[in-house]
Amino acid sequence: MTQFRPGRQVMVAGVGLHPFGRFPEKDMATLAVEAVVPALSDAGVQWQDIQVAYFGRVYYNGMSMGETVLGRLGLTGIPIINVENACSSGSTAFWQAYWGITTGMFDIALAFGAEKVPRGPVTVTAEDSPERLIGADHMMAGYALRSRRYMSETGAPETALAQVVVKARQNASLNPYSHRKETITIEDVLQSRLISDPLTLFQCCPTSEGAAAAVLVAGDALSKYGIDQNRAIRIAAAVLTSGGYNGKGSDHSAFSPYRTEPAALEAYKVSGLKPEDIDLVQVHDAATIGELQQLEALHLVPFGEAWKATEEGRTSLTGDIPTNTDGGLLAMGHPFGATGIRMIHETVLQLRHEAGPRQVKDARVGLAECSGAGDVTTVHILVK
């Protein structure tokens, strides 16, 4: 695997978010602008200060969407790069912004993402792919296959999987930006309609619209831009991987539930931190099983035991592994291009102790993990 060698220290100086949900009255560029402007304002910088921008999105029929969005703020002529990396598009844009700064090319960068995900089951392949006749390309069916095997191997009951989304909804109910704000019970989860058994509707993340943005600055350039050091959050690790050989001869998501592990181990090595140092975590819970297996792959709990940790309340806001503190994909929603940066947004708020009613006590170190088709994984560790 690639060895990552960071250079200059990089900080997140500002974050912005457009609420997640459905916004038929707004086009994607409007959603994006309404996340970018608050991020610039949060950092206390001007659009003209930004030297490079990376834009994550998946669903868009045209070209150069990033340029279209940022043109509304003024044509400054900076390099703008459009990033498509499936559900990790936003976190990949953030990763690129980090590496643009740590290697010395730029002092200040914008990473942002936006999406209007179509309704219905999500597929990875093109419409003329043979997969469509085979019936195997169905994101939630892939998670369902993982769920059943996990339950068989670990003895996890379906109520434990349901508890993941009960917890997610509790956190989201404290978050005015979330797509699903109603709290629900385990019975509600299990009685919602089956999508691909054992996964019911509430165990699958909603397809959403929304946008998120972050301003990244070199640690040695904070004063040049007049940025408040006390609100800047240090990026201690930024790791991106694609799928390695998984022993099963395919990259379908069903085959590699623990693909996050190599990226996590690299992030711990680069940062000098250990799993026990992590105060809160955002993981890719596109379905309930995703959260369980990501927590295990991140070595935050032993393999096969995340369901017990969930039942014991360890992943709740007051537990020892607060997970998806803003509601995660399951309740916050999942506009693909925005999701990875939404995780950064929540982590930054928590580490600044600005998360209001969902604040994790004494939070100092946060981890954000985002996965995408193609076995893409990003792991970012942020430190106050």
Binding site: P121, P130, A141, A144, R146, L194, Y245, G247
Partner: protein, 145 residues
């Protein structure tokens, strides 16, 4: 004559398209078996791959009953999607047919079954690989050669 849904993955062995075999590659350097097309070995990147025919039977590693199908799915709903592990190594996802939902069991033996599937366009029917249960007596010989 009916055509395979993907000739790189499924080779038909009779004119009627009722018999066939899944195709893959065996890496002569690291002994890995890959389902479907390959130029380089996924594991060791060697180009010393030899084409091979994969086992006709395996075990049902996991399964799900898909009630909301993806766009383009031409079959009835719900349908059973199986994740089948072959003794050669690879796992292959496909529909499980000829099996009532209540008979599904993790690790049950299954075998290859071919079905003619009508596509979205008229005249675009293809032969698609699927899995079906085998009785345990027959499976013992095929799954554990």
């Amino acid at each position: 004559m009916p055509e395979s849904v993907d000739p790189r993955r499924l080779k038909l062995t009779n004119d009627a398209g009722t018999e066939g075999v899944l195709l893959g590659f065996h890496c002569l350097e690291c002994d890995t078996v890959i389902f479907g097309p390959g130029t380089f070995c996924q594991r060791c990147t060697s180009i010393k791959l030899e084409p091979m025919e994969l086992s006709r039977a395996g075990i049902l590693y996991s399964y799900t009953v898909v009630r909301i199908p993806p766009a383009g799915w031409p079959g009835p709903v719900p349908y059973i999607l199986g994740q089948v592990e072959l003794p050669d190594g690879p796992q292959v996802l496909a529909e499980v047919v000829d099996c009532p939902e209540e008979d599904l069991e993790i690790d049950m033996p299954v075998e290859l079954a071919l079905r003619l599937v009508e596509g979205q366009e008229p005249g675009a029917a293809k032969v698609v690989y699927k899995w079906r249960p085998v009785d345990s007596h027959q499976a013992t010989a095929e799954v554990h050669p």
